[in-house]
């Protein structure tokens, strides 16, 4: 067992974990944050994407001990009391990017990390760049078009 201290969705947590524990299992099984989805557990589908220190990562391929000292944001950490949905989430719903929704938390977290980075740099990506940013996230329902529309709309004022 190892002790790790990290921030998740704004809250500081200290936890004893096994060195082999995966971040997705820490999130879903220990912390009971079920919004992060297990699509493959093989690093291939992106459904389990969460943000660690500003980067979207596949939580099924990431050891829990590696979040020590870091800040993790999951789908539950977006939005606040006043605006329960983040702009990215609003756009996903508005543009019809959600069908069965199993890929959606991953799509949202990937888009959130990417758009935050673009905004920080003051750039608006092209549609091709937006598509590229979503390449690691699979969806079987939507054919991606509406998800890409939503991810592009994030840059509108």
């Amino acid at each position: 067992m190892m002790q790790i201290t990290f921030k998740i969705n704004g809250e500081s947590i200290t936890q004893e974990v096994k060195p082999a524990l995966l971040l997705i299992d820490l999130i879903r099984d220990h912390l009971k944050l079920k919004g992060t989805k297990p699509g493959c557990l093989e690093g291939e589908c992106g459904a389990c994407s969460v943000i660690v220190d500003g980067e979207a990562i596949n939580s099924c391929m990431y050891l829990a001990i590696n979040v020590n000292g870091k800040e993790v944001i999951t789908i539950e950490g977006l939005g606040d009391h006043e605006n329960p949905l983040d702009n990215v989430q609003e756009k996903m719903v508005e543009h019809g990017g959600v069908q069965c929704g199993f890929c959606t938390p991953g799509m949202v977290m990937t888009t959130k990390a990417y758009s935050d980075k673009c905004k920080k740099k003051g750039i608006t990506p092209t549609r091709e760049e937006v598509k590229k940013s979503l390449e690691g996230n699979l969806c079987r329902c939507t054919g991606y078009a509406k998800i890409i529309d939503a991810a592009e709309a994030v840059y509108e004022n």
Binding site: P38, E42, Q99, C100, G101, K131, C141
Partner: protein
């Protein structure tokens, strides 16, 4: 004149979209019950073998294991499952395919359960197995499925199912034909790849023998019956609760062995048990689209008018017979009735092999049939020297047609859909254009016909609705139908908003619990918005009668011409809030609640023994024109543009409909170009997203969608079912486009880069021969 609609026809965001986008929606994977155990299933190590012995003692002794079951267990008092009841839930004696379940474990954690599986010792006598249906039909082949009735029913022990259909005078039409094209097509095994893997949670009450299942079935009432039959229970003791479903596409039409196995574990352990598939298990175990070989002969006269179609199909049924064996119902419709066909003869044989069994998949046999039909059409056009667009237009179906099979097209958008994509894609020009050097461009057409108003394949194809308007003006729609992501519950809410003038915030849709909701046959055949929509409209009519009567009494005015809008009922200067009417009903005399109950059964008919009859409430038609670019150096095919036009009767929710188009097309493009389960001697070689290529965001071409509205009176507001259609003609159109680009025709899918390069090489060699 028809009244103007306020809600229907305008884009409406998904009803529970906010729950789904915020991670709050609860899927099967997210369920945790107190005291719940985790189940794992041991599958055979060999696709074809005799089981000599199974020793579970070590697994049972492992700490944390609560129970282990095999087919020899006392609790295993069951019936065979599947469409033909030829599938034992747990196998003993023999195993017939790589999926075969031998034992199952329930343990405190998933890790312990998986570890226990490794401790189960099974001794096999490995056999060679038969993986080719043609081999299986030979006399010397052993009987693969001991429960198969092929010998008695079809004269061959390994025949699982067989269909014969015909209309018209084949010989006469053959004699009339100027051109006859005969080709053989080979279709691969592909899988649904739902993003959520299969799952089930079962809780069995020892007190009253009631069973609760949290299941992602798409047909809960048929499933309830299937579980009851499998486990020798009374159906009404089984309550099916559907958590949010992470993709269906047909994969959840059959009940699969893991589901009754989970119940058996729950029964034996006395605790709730959950089984979640890993992604690898999902690839191995999810039913596939039928692989098949299609021999198609078609003819046309000197003017290009079609004369006949003759088709013989051998389907690899796999080791057991699922609903998938009935896909010929749909396939024969395309052969008999997609375009005008004076004579048609159809034979299809599903043959047992030691491969995994196929199931149902969006399109239900139709993508396969359409691929063969549309390719043959291009070949006939070429031989006749006729335009590919023209040959389709002169043969296309029309309004009022009753086809040789008895399908009655009371409305028909086939010609408008074809014309639209031909026009928008500038088809004739693109088709004739020079093809480029290294990168060659091409364009292809494909059309399809599919049921649009349900399909009568079960004794009832109906759907029940209960409506409840409460004292505060909130409406609860309790519908038998299900939501599996396709957006039908949004459409239902829109209908209620339109008809009753109730705001979205005041509408709830309840559709997840068989103890609560009325009967419905389930999500299949693109039927939900059609059948559940009509059912809801029927219920609303009854509710309005009640409300109208009460409003008349309250306001002392004689009319039944009330307008429902903004939460109010209005007639001339008379106006009353709808919640007030409901309250007056409840608290005034005679006391009654504002609830109604309605069951809708579509007007469709069972087909007769010759498979003739008007099987659906209406029919959907669509055409696609697809542009591709082929890299002749790498063999890579890129889809540049998709033009799709579909007769949807009437657009209900544009954004939802467009989403169905794009999603269906993505699966269709995958079927055409990238997706294939690679099986060698009964074993799957690519059970992961790494080896099985789904389209990604960068592969998706622009989709130009042109709905055709034909206002069919059978459908709600004139609409038709739409969900399966977008992927049906896609592979056909792409294959035709690639052939237009390269001058080579492809008779099998997927059209991978290797296949393209091989074909180009052969073409070169052939050309050389010609030159020599």
């Amino acid at each position: 004149m028809e009244k103007e609609l306020k809600v229907i026809g305008k884009s409406h965001r998904k009803l529970d979209g906010k729950e789904r986008v915020s991670g709050k929606a609860v899927y099967g994977h997210d369920i945790e019950l107190p005291n719940m155990l985790h189940g794992s299933i041991l599958r055979t190590a060999h696709p074809c073998a005799e089981i000599i012995s199974i020793d579970t003692s070590k697994a049972e002794a492992l700490e944390g294991v609560e129970c282990v079951i095999t087919a020899d267990d006392d609790v295993y008092d069951v019936n065979n499952i599947s469409y033909k009841r030829d599938h034992p839930i747990l196998k003993k004696g023999t195993v017939n395919c790589n999926r075969d379940e031998i034992a199952a474990v329930a343990a405190r954690t998933k890790e312990i359960a998986d570890k226990a599986l490794q401790l189960i010792e099974v001794e096999y006598n490995v056999k060679k197995g038969i993986y080719d249906p043609v081999e299986a039909l030979k006399n010397e082949a052993p009987q693969i499925n001991e429960f198969g009735k092929g010998k008695e029913q079809f004269g061959n022990k390994n025949m699982a199912e067989s269909f014969h259909y015909e209309h018209g005078n084949l010989e006469e039409q053959k004699a009339k034909s100027k051109v006859i094209v005969k080709r053989t097509y080979e279709l691969p095994r592909v899988t649904h790849a739902c993003m959520a893997t299969s799952n089930i949670t079962a809780e069995f009450s020892p007190f009253d023998g009631r069973l609760t299942l949290w299941s992602s079935t798409q047909v809960p009432f048929l499933y309830q019956r299937d579980i009851a039959h499998a486990l020798k229970m009374e159906p009404s003791k089984i309550r099916i609760i559907q958590p949010i479903i992470g993709g269906g596409f047909g994969s959840k039409l059959d009940m699969h062995p893991f589901e009754p196995i989970c119940v058996l574990l729950a029964k034996k352990s006395g605790k709730p048990v959950q089984i979640l598939f890993s992604r690898e298990e999902e690839f191995v175990l999810s039913p596939t689209r039928q692989p098949m070989v299609i021999d198609l002969t078609t003819g046309c006269d000197e003017n290009g008018k079609f004369t006949f179609r003759e088709v013989e199909i051998i389907k690899d049924n796999g080791a057991y017979t699922s609903w998938g064996a009935t896909t010929p119902f749909v396939m024969m419709q395309s052969y008999s009735s997609l375009y005008q066909v004076p004579a048609c003869k159809f034979d299809s044989h599903a043959v047992y092999t030691n491969n995994p069994f196929a199931g149902s998949f969006r399109g239900y046999g139709n993508p396969q049939a359409t691929f063969s039909i549309e390719t043959n059409i291009d070949l006939m056009a070429e031989e006749l020297g006729m335009d590919q667009s023209e040959i389709r237009l002169i043969n296309a179906n029309y309004k009022g047609e009753v086809t040789g099979q008895g399908l009655h097209f009371k409305t028909c958008g086939a010609i408008p859909a074809l014309e639209k994509v031909i026009d928008e894609s500038d088809f004739e020009k693109a088709n004739a254009e020079p093809k480029g050097d290294r990168y060659k461009k091409g364009i292809g057409l494909g059309s399809m016909l599919h049921v649009g108003g349900g399909a009568k394949i079960y004794r009832s194809d109906g759907c029940g609705t209960v409506l409840k308007l409460d004292d505060y003006g909130y409406l609860t729609i309790i519908t038998g139908s299900n939501e599996i992501g396709q957006g039908s519950e949004t459409v239902l809410a829109m209908i209620a908003m339109e008809e009753l003038g109730i705001a979205e915030e005041k509408i709830k849709v309840i559709n997840t619990d068989t103890d609560v909701k009325p009967w419905d046959v389930g999500v299949h055949a693109s039927r939900t918005s059609f059948v559940a929509g009509n059912s809801l409209l029927g219920a609303i009519k009854l509710m309005k009668e009640k409300l109208n009567k009460k409003a008349v009494a309250l306001l002392d005015v004689v009319t039944d011409d009330w307008e429902y809008a903004d939460g109010k009922m209005t007639f001339n200067e008379f106006e009353i809030k709808i919640d007030k009417v409901a309250r007056e009903m409840h608290f005034g005399t005679p006391h009654e609640l504002c609830t109604v109950n309605y069951f809708y059964e579509p007007p469709s008919k069972f087909q007769d023994k010759d498979f003739k009859g008007d099987v659906s409430g209406n029919y959907a038609f669509a055409s696609q024109a697809i542009e591709v670019e082929v890299d002749t150096v790498t063999g890579n095919v890129e889809v540049l543009n998709v033009h799709v036009s579909q007769d949807v009767g009437r657009v209900l929710n544009p954004i939802g409909l467009q989403g169905q188009m794009e999603g269906g097309l993505a699966t269709g493009i995958g079927y055409a170009l990238t997706e294939e389960m690679i099986y060698e001697n009964g074993e799957l070689k690519n059970p992961s997203f790494h080896g099985y290529k789904l389209l990604t965001a960068t592969d998706m071409p622009p989709v130009h969608f042109y709905p055709i509205e034909t206002y069919d009176e059978a459908g709600p507001y004139g609409s038709k079912g739409a969900g399966e259609a977008p992927l049906i003609p896609t592979a056909a159109a792409i294959a035709n486009a690639v052939s237009n680009a390269l001058g080579v025709t492809f008779y099998s899918l997927p059209i991978t880069a290797e296949k393209v390069l091989r074909a180009l090489k052969e073409q070169k060699e052939k050309n050389k021969e010609v030159l020599v």
